[in-house]
C-alpha cells in the first residue's frame, strides 16, 4: 500500500535477497514448461469439440512475472488450470522442473477473478485453510496467517466474515490465503477485473511488492494490455480459438511503474495493435454465432 520510492528500493532489494537466502535451497527455482499442450472439450454432445489450446509451447523462468494477454475465450484460464493441475491437457505435457504435473499442489496456487473465499470461515481461517490442510499446528498456522494478513494490510479484519469486506479487500484476502502456503508459483486469473480502477492500482503495487518480497514466480492472466505492461517482465499474446501463443514481448521498463504512465501506455499501444486483428476475429465469430444460437 505504501508507495515505493527509489531510495527505499535498494534497501528492499537487499531485504528480498535476505528473504530468498533464508528459504530452503531450490525453493525459488521452480521451472514450468509446457510442451505441445493441446486441450479440447465438447460444449455439448452433438457439437464438434472446441480447441481451447492448440500446441502451446512455453517456458516460465523461476521468479519471473509473466503476463498472458488475449481476447476472451482464448484459453488463458485453461492454461492456468493446466499449470495448477486442476485440469489435464488432451495432448502434450505440463512439466514442473522436468516432471509431469499429475495434480494440484500447494506449490502452485491459483487465484480466481471471483476470489473463491469460503464464506463460512473468517478472514483469518480462510488464510489458514491451506496450512490446516497441510496438517500444520494451530499456533504456527496462526502466526503465518497473521504474517500474511499483515502483508496485505488486513490484520484488523482477521475475525471478520467475507461478506463484510469490500471487493478489493476480498482479493487481498485471496492473495494472503494463496501466499500462506508459500507457493513457488502464483497463478492469477484476471484477479482484478471486477474491481474499480483505484483499488486495482493499489493492488498492482501490493502484488508487485509481494512478488519481490517472496521471490515467487507469477503467471498473471488478463485481457487488459496496460495491466500486463504495468506488471510483467514478459507479456505473451494469445490468439482466439484455437488459443495459441502468437507473440511475445519483453517489458524493459524499469520498476516501479504506474499504469497511467506514458511509457506504459505507449508500449501497451504497440502490443494492442498486434492484438487488434485477433480481437476482430473473435468478434466476427461471436456475431456469426449469435443468430444461429437463437
Amino acid at each position: 500500500m505504501t508507495p515505493i520510492n527509489p531510495t527505499e528500493l535498494t534497501a528492499q532489494q537487499e531485504q528480498i535477497r535476505l528473504i530468498r537466502a533464508r528459504r530452503a535451497p531450490g525453493s525459488h527455482n521452480t521451472h514450468i514448461s509446457l510442451h505441445g499442450v493441446t486441450q479440447s472439450f465438447s460444449p455439448n454432445k452433438n457439437a464438434p469439440p472446441l480447441v481451447a489450446l492448440n500446441n502451446v509451447n512455453l517456458e516460465i523462468h523461476p521468479g519471473e512475472f509473466l503476463c498472458i494477454v488475449g481476447p476472451s475465450g482464448c484459453g488463458k484460464s485453461s492454461l492456468l488450470n493446466l499449470i495448477a493441475g486442476l485440469a489435464f491437457p488432451s495432448s502434450g505435457e505440463v512439466q514442473l522442473n522436468g516432471e509431469r504435473v499429475t495434480g494440484p499442489g500447494t506449490d502452485r496456487i491459483l487465484i480466481f477473478q471471483e476470489h473463491g473465499l469460503f464464506p463460512w470461515l473468517t478472514v483469518g481461517q480462510n488464510v489458514e485453510f491451506g496450512l490446516r490442510m497441510l496438517g500444520i499446528g494451530r499456533k504456527e498456522r496462526r502466526e503465518r496467517a497473521d504474517h500474511y494478513l499483515r502483508l496485505v494490510h488486513l490484520t484488523s479484519f482477521r475475525d471478520s466474515y467475507i461478506h463484510q469486506l469490500s471487493g478489493g479487500m476480498r482479493q487481498r484476502v485471496a492473495i494472503a490465503r494463496a501466499l500462506a502456503t508459500e507457493p513457488k508459483i502464483l497463478l492469477l486469473d484476471e484477479p482484478f477485473a471486477a474491481l474499480d480502477a483505484q483499488t486495482r492500482d493499489m493492488l498492482h503495487d501490493e502484488l508487485e511488492r509481494l512478488w519481490r518480497e517472496t521471490g515467487c514466480t507469477i503467471v498473471f492472466v488478463t485481457h487488459n494490455v496496460r495491466e500486463s505492461v504495468r506488471l510483467g517482465d514478459r507479456v505473451l499474446l494469445m490468439s482466439f480459438r484455437p488459443g495459441t501463443i502468437i507473440n511475445e514481448f519483453a517489458i524493459p521498463l524499469q520498476r516501479p511503474r504506474h499504469i497511467e504512465e506514458n511509457r506504459v501506455a505507449q508500449l501497451a499501444r504497440e502490443i494492442l495493435d498486434h492484438l487488434r486483428a485477433d480481437i476482430n476475429k473473435a468478434m466476427e465469430v461471436e456475431f456469426a454465432n449469435t443468430p444461429r444460437s437463437k
Binding site: 480466481f112 463460512w120 485453510f129 490442510m133
Partner: protein, 255 residues
C-alpha cells in the same frame, strides 16, 4: 419480534377464539362433537396434572429425536455416495426421489410385519420418511454448489474426506440446513402416523385414545399440543440456526 407483529397475532387469535365461543353459543353441533374452550382446557389440565401428557410428550420427542438423528446420518452418507459416484447419482438419486414422494404411512404395514408392534417399527417409519428428503436436499446442495469452492479446496491441498468435511459440507451448509428442516417435517409427520396405529405410549396414542373414548375435547387438546410442540421446535431450533447462518454468510435474514 416487533410489537406490531405480536399485536397482530394477539388480535388474530382473540378473534378466532371469539368465533369458536360464538359457534358454541349457537349450539349448531352437540358438545361431544364440538367441545367448548373450557372443556378442551379441562382436558389439557387433567392430562398434565395426572402426568400422562408429560410422559406422552417425553416418549414422542425421544422417539422422533432418535429417528431424526439416524435419518440425518443416513441422509448425509447417502448424499455423499450419490455426489461422489456417477453410477449412484444415475440410480440411487431417482429412487430416493420416488421414496420421498411415498407417504411414510405406507411403510407401516411392512414395519409391522418385520418388527411387530414395537418401538423399532415406529423408528423405522420415521427413518424411512425423513432420510430420502434429507439425502436429496443435501445432494442438491452439493450439486448446485459453485465449482470454485472445490477447485480452491483442491488447490489448497484438500482431498477426499478432507475435501468433503472442510469444503463440500460447509459450502452446502445452507442447503443442508434447509434439508434438515424439511427432514424434520417429514419425521414429525411420520412419528404421528406410526404412533396412531401402534399400541404404545405417546402423543399419537393419546390422540387415538381420545377417539376410542369418544372424548373430542381430549382429541383437540392433544392436537393443540402437537401443533405447539412442532412450532416450538421450528422456532427455537431452526429459526435460530437460520439466523446464525444468515449472520455468518451474509445472506438476507429469513423473515
Amino acid at each position: 419480534m416487533p410489537i406490531r407483529r405480536v399485536l397482530n397475532n394477539v388480535i388474530f387469535y382473540a378473534v378466532l377464539l371469539g368465533i369458536w365461543a360464538w359457534v358454541i353459543h349457537l349450539r349448531i353441533w352437540p358438545p361431544y362433537l364440538f367441545p367448548s374452550q373450557s372443556d378442551v382446557f379441562a382436558s389439557l389440565r387433567s392430562g398434565f396434572s395426572d402426568g400422562s401428557f408429560f410422559i406422552a410428550i417425553a416418549v414422542s420427542l425421544r422417539r422422533v429425536a432418535i429417528g431424526y438423528v439416524i435419518s440425518v446420518v443416513l441422509g448425509l452418507v447417502l448424499s455423499l455416495i450419490i455426489s461422489s459416484s456417477k453410477f449412484f447419482s444415475d440410480t440411487l438419486s431417482p429412487l430416493l426421489t420416488s421414496l420421498q414422494n411415498l407417504p411414510s404411512i405406507c411403510w407401516l404395514p411392512l414395519a409391522l410385519l418385520w418388527f411387530g408392534l414395537s418401538e423399532s417399527s415406529i423408528l423405522f417409519v420415521i427413518i424411512m420418511g425423513a432420510t430420502p428428503s434429507i439425502a436429496m436436499a443435501v445432494e442438491s446442495g452439493i450439486h448446485s454448489m459453485p465449482r470454485i469452492y472445490s477447485q480452491v479446496g483442491r488447490n489448497l491441498g484438500a482431498r477426499g474426506v478432507k475435501l468433503f468435511l472442510h469444503v463440500l459440507l460447509p459450502a452446502s451448509l445452507p442447503h443442508l440446513i434447509a434439508g434438515m428442516k424439511q427432514g424434520w417435517a417429514f419425521a414429525w409427520r411420520a412419528l404421528f402416523s406410526a404412533e396412531m396405529l401402534s399400541i404404545t405410549i405417546g402423543l399419537g396414542q393419546q390422540l387415538m385414545q381420545g377417539r376410542d373414548l369418544n372424548d373430542m375435547s381430549l382429541v383437540m387438546a392433544v392436537m393443540a399440543l402437537i401443533l405447539v410442540l412442532g412450532l416450538t421446535v421450528n422456532f427455537v431450533v431452526f429459526r435460530s440456526v437460520e439466523r446464525w447462518l444468515a449472520r455468518r454468510w451474509g445472506t438476507s435474514n429469513p423473515a
